[in-house]
């Protein structure tokens, strides 16, 4: 017989999983409250879509008290692409200043990671760092990895062996992150890149994973990097898309109307950004539009 293990009574904990607000009520509504704790959420997007903006904003909103949807927590930011956007973080911190006496940047711990081996090496140090922070004013309750794809894309070739080794590491890293998430009640946000889809809906690359039949960004079909193996390692997947929109504004008066037929159609180019829920155990198929301003990332009601 085995040693006794006690099951959790589901009624012992609050009946809603704790979530961290992303700093905007519209986006929060789309996400059912924000980024959930005790699981891994993945943010997939091509470069320039706003992944890092999102992550930076999350490290600031995490510091808000739970009355404002935050976790009253510090964050650990592991970045794999250089340099760390310090200036932008400073700029954003003016919007999300929870109180005037503390500098929000003091509660964001940044660590650069350049390879998978290094990440595995520092995991125990990360764990003890988080444990030690539990007594401080704002314990660490958010880990951001920006981006996980960058770690894997250079070290591995496209051979069967390397792909198998890579899969092995996905599950190992994901297992460690999830164990920490459960142990310390952390929210984990991991960003991922995209690859172009040569033939949509064909072969394993075109395999549909989640609510959207095919993901589009910049007007072309793409799919998240790292394949099906990594998709099995995350609990929720969010997709940020960006597309150029051409808006025609008709019949604008030109030159003060002199000359009679002085009206022209203006064509404006506008970037339309959307957040989609690709899959999540607690969310329906939702999406919302957002924009990136100097103050931060905010949802747009249309």
């Amino acid at each position: 017989m085995g040693a006794p293990m006690t099951p959790q009574n589901l009624l012992d904990n609050p009946l809603t999983t704790e979530k961290c607000t992303v700093g905007c009520p519209i986006i929060d509504r789309c996400l059912g409250g924000g980024i959930p704790c005790n699981s891994i959420t993945e943010l997939v997007a091509e470069s320039g879509s706003g992944k890092t903006q999102f992550c930076l904003q999350l490290t600031l909103s995490a510091q808000l008290p739970s009355s404002h949807g935050g976790l009253s927590a510090s964050s650990l930011y592991l970045h794999t692409e250089f340099p760390f956007p310090m200036r932008r973080l400073h700029q954003l911190s003016h919007t999300f200043r929870p109180s005037n006496d503390h500098n929000p940047c003091d509660y964001i711990f940044v660590q650069s990671v350049h390879s998978v081996d290094q990440l595995l090496d520092i995991m125990p140090k990360i764990e003890s760092f988080i444990k030690n922070s539990s007594n401080s004013r704002l314990p660490i309750r958010l880990i951001v990895i920006d981006s996980i794809a960058a770690l894997f894309r250079s070290d591995f070739d496209n051979t069967m062996d390397d792909l198998k080794k890579r899969s092995f590491l996905f599950f190992k890293i994901s297992g460690m992150l999830k164990a920490m998430a459960v142990g310390f009640g952390l929210a984990v946000l991991v960003t991922n890149q995209v690859v172009d889809l040569m033939e949509p809906n064909e072969g394993v690359n075109g395999l549909r994973v989640g609510n959207l039949g095919c993901l589009y960004s910049s007007g072309r079909p793409i799919c998240p990097a790292l394949g099906i193996a990594w998709a099995n390692c995350v609990n929720s997947r969010l997709f940020l898309s960006r597309n150029e929109d051409f808006v025609v504004r008709e019949n604008q008066m030109v030159n003060g109307g002199v000359g009679g037929s002085g009206s022209e159609d203006f064509v404006c180019r506008r970037t339309r950004r959307s957040l989609h829920v690709v899959f999540a155990p607690h969310l329906a198929d939702t999406s919302c539009e957002f924009e990136i301003t100097r103050e931060g990332v905010f949802g747009v009601e249309r």
Binding site: M1, G2, A3, P4, M5, P7, Q8, N9, L10, L11, N13, P14, L15, T16, T17, G32, P36, N38, S39, I40, M160, S167, F168, L169, F170, F171, K172, G175, K178, A179, A181, V182, G183, G203, V204, L207, R208, V209, G210, N211, G213, I228, A229, A231, N232, V234, N235, R237, V278, F279, P281, H282, A284
Partner: protein
């Protein structure tokens, strides 16, 4: 005449004596039922099975149809599919539906939910439980007014024994512990493991060892199902296999594992709809059905096209 004096080989003699036959007359008077102690006739087995005809509904009539009424007890059903297809949703639905009282056609049992990935969200389970209670009240209103619906959504949550497992050793430990746990909680009628694959996809450099460990687990779960007449549901992930020059999608954990379960159900996407098909079963016909995941849980798909396809 003494057995020791019979003209037979030493091994045969030894076996007869250790079985308790010391003289020729004792062998002659042994009846066939004495000798075949521990075996059962097929008729007896059928009688036993008829007793446990209850199946756990999935709340989707089409899915129930291809499953012969729902997920069966005394057997292990494996359910696999790509991320986001609804495996966890189906797992939670079964953990709720097993609790439907006998008066409403359910098993009135409890559930064990072993979560290895962290996809079980309490608010989603509560949502599904609330919809189940609402459905029961609705059923009551239209058909039978004599049964009271005494179950509350929170009671449903309380009857799910939830284990969160963070490593393969914890997983093995909890599976070993199940026998003791279920003998102390005889009303458990379903054990769901979500997912069986996650912790086994790393940590084993020796794949032959992994196969042995998995076979051991499969055996324990099968014995558990038969001993306590409960249903075991294992959720599995997908991976790609390079066969015949191309990459094919298949369930994780390898070929040997695919033999371990009684039934196998594969969930997949087909033109914007979720489908399920019976990939392996000793008694269910190969067929596929569509289903949908709604805010109330697993339900029939809303498309009007033919929903169940039989494969000849």
């Amino acid at each position: 005449m003494e057995v020791s004096k019979l003209p037979i080989s030493a091994t045969q003699r030894g076996k007869l004596i250790s079985a308790g036959y010391t003289s020729l007359s004792s062998i002659c008077s042994a009846s066939s039922s004495d000798i075949s102690r521990g075996t059962q006739t097929a008729w007896d087995m059928l009688q036993e099975e008829q007793e446990s005809l209850a199946r756990i509904t999935t709340s989707c009539a089409d899915l129930d149809n291809i499953l012969g009424g729902g997920i069966g007890c005394r057997e292990v059903t494996e359910i696999g599919g790509v991320p986001g297809i609804g495996k966890t949703q189906l797992g939670i639905q079964l953990a709720v539906n097993v609790q439907i009282p006998v008066e409403f056609g359910g098993l009135g049992g409890k559930a064990i939910y072993i979560d290895t990935e962290g996809s079980f969200m309490v608010e989603r389970a509560l949502q599904i439980a609330e919809a189940c209670v609402e459905d029961m009240l609705e059923y009551n209103r239209f058909l039978r007014n004599d049964c009271q619906v005494k179950t509350q959504p929170k009671d449903i949550l309380e009857n799910i024994f939830y284990f969160r497992i963070c490593s393969y050793t914890e997983q093995s430990a909890v599976i070993n512990y199940l026998d003791k746990f279920v003998s102390e909680h005889k009303d458990v009628k379903v054990v769901i493991i979500d997912s069986i694959a996650f912790h086994f996809r790393h940590g084993f450099v020796d794949l032959a060892l992994r196969t042995r460990v998995l076979s051991g687990i499969a055996l324990k779960l099968m014995n558990l199902a038969k001993k306590f007449s409960l249903a075991v549901v294992l959720l599995n992930q997908v991976t790609t296999k390079y066969t015949e020059g191309s990459f094919q999608l298949c369930l994780a954990l390898g070929d040997s594992w695919s033999h371990c379960c009684t039934n196998r159900l594969i969930l997949y996407w087909n033109s914007n709809e979720r489908h399920a098909y019976i990939d392996k079963s000793p008694y269910l016909r190969s067929a596929s059905a569509s289903y949908s995941v709604t805010s109330r849980g697993i339900r029939n798909s809303t498309s009007r096209s033919k929903r169940i396809k039989m494969m000849i």
